[in-house]
């Protein structure tokens, strides 16, 4: 089912991002942990070719 906001031209929301461990939702928690790890890596953003596996991700809530 489509969201009421699912229409072309409408700006996307900007979310208040909680810290690591700041949500009980397991998938969101994993994404936040991964984001935190990336942002502390001190590397410039880079996009990788999608026809290959990624390196292992840190477990949810893991320290960077």
């Amino acid at each position: 089912m489509r969201s009421p906001d699912d229409a072309p031209g409408i700006p996307l929301p900007v979310f208040e991002r909680p810290g690591v461990g700041g949500t009980p939702h397991p998938v969101l928690a994993a994404v936040l942990a991964e984001l935190h790890a990336r942002e502390t890596e001190d590397e410039l953003p880079a996009a990788y070719y999608g026809d290959s596996p990624d390196p292992p991700s840190p477990p949810a809530g893991a320290a960077p």
Binding site: P11, L12, P13, E16, V27, L28, R38
Partner: protein, 383 residues
């Protein structure tokens, strides 16, 4: 912080494949340069490629680089050349930069000894599968039309049971004619640590199959349903789904690490079996020699590749997009989608929205809605 550089080296080990998948973007594309390549990479090219990677790393000092052993079907060589290539690169790269090595395979030639050999050498293995049943893999056949599924299933099961430490994950090309719930659950049953759903490599001159359907976003609808299955999956062993993770990361203000979405510069190059340096294979779908740079590891450095205009075009971010994209409120998430999907035969260039534009917007807005159920929205607009 390291300087901007290439960080992913897709090294072709074999230029042929034992399968003849109906949607293959390498062997069923306008670019047929694979016919002119040596079947397998030689030792001299391996050594020279490794020297060039090391040279690039020494200049830029990235924290890590990825080496992806690819094909065709890389296991047509057996495991030893893969291990040799990995070892050659690792020995050459200076200390201080991690080297992760993977192989992407159709799985049909992954025997138990080969698995152990690769895993013991620290090489992680990804398998391409379009689902976890025979019917879902009907398009993945060999040159005689025989299904690859039995052998591929055996490989995936063996990886999960015997060497989960080496299990890189499964890559699935989306087919909107399938049931996303069946695809997701059957792939989950193969216990991958990671999944990705790839949109087919097509462009405005070769529309995606299914576009005739009444719904305007068949791929987006499929992905939205798969997203819900993943987002709401509370069971143990939940795999990381790359496309969805990257979309969520972007929606949360981060940058992406995939060429499928986001504006991050592409950090990958391909080295063919003869040492030729090329852009991504997905560009083979556009026109003959679309991936070509005219460079090779025997005569040129990866710094020269980094500065090549054709590679710079893949790293241009917002500036490389057409006006329609730059004005769109979704652009900082979709990034214009995969570069190859923007090509138009009519204009001969890539400065168009993705042929999957509407589908990308569909899944992005859907993901935003699901995230919005969990998080507060700030007052700022993303535009």
């Amino acid at each position: 912080m390291s300087s901007d550089c290439l960080r992913q080296f897709v090294l072709k080990v074999h230029s042929r494949c034992n399968l003849d998948c109906t949607y293959c973007y390498i062997y069923r594309s306008p670019d047929t340069s694979w016919r002119d390549r040596p079947h397998h990479v030689g030792e001299h090219t391996m050594r020279q490629t490794a020297r060039r990677i090391a040279e690039h790393v020494a200049t830029h000092r990235p924290r890590s680089v990825r080496v992806d052993l690819h094909g065709g079907e890389p296991l047509l060589t057996g495991p030893e050349p893969l291990v040799a290539y990995a070892d050659t690169v690792r020995r050459a790269v200076p200390d201080g930069t991690d080297v992760t090595v993977t192989v992407q395979t159709n799985g049909t030639l992954l025997t138990r000894p080969a698995l152990d050999r690769l895993a013991d050498a620290g090489i992680r293995i990804g398998i391409s599968l379009d689902g976890g049943t025979a019917a879902l893999n009907a398009r993945r056949v060999d040159h005689a039309g025989r299904p690859s599924w039995p052998a591929a299933r055996r490989a995936a099961r063996m990886l999960a049971a015997r060497r989960p430490d080496a299990y890189g994950g499964l890559l699935c090309t989306v087919d909107p004619a399938t049931d996303p719930a069946e695809v997701y659950s059957s792939l989950r049953a193969l216990a991958p640590p990671a999944l990705d759903f790839l949109l087919p490599h097509v462009h405005w001159g070769s529309r995606p199959p299914g576009r005739h359907r009444p719904a305007p976003t068949p791929y987006g609808d499929w992905l939205a349903e798969a997203f819900d299955l993943w987002w709401d999956d509370g069971t143990r062993g939940l795999p990381r789904v790359r496309l969805f993770t990257e979309i969520a990361a972007l929606l949360l203000g981060g940058s992406s690490r995939t060429d499928a979405v986001g504006l991050s510069p592409i950090a990958a190059v391909v080295v063919e079996t003869d040492g030729t340096i090329e852009r991504l294979d997905s560009l083979k779908t556009a026109y003959p020699h679309a991936p070509a740079t005219g460079l090779d590891v025997h005569r040129n450095s990866f710094d020269e590749a980094l500065g090549h205009p054709r590679i710079a075009a893949l790293r241009a971010g917002l500036g490389g997009l057409g006006e329609d994209c730059r004005a769109c409120p979704v652009v900082r998430i979709c990034g214009g989608g995969n570069y190859a999907h923007r090509y138009s035969r009519r204009t001969g260039h890539f400065r168009h929205p993705s042929v999957h534009c509407a589908d990308l917007e569909r899944i992005i807005r859907h993901a935003a809605a699901r995230i919005g159920e969990q998080l507060s929205v700030s007052s700022r607009s993303l535009v």
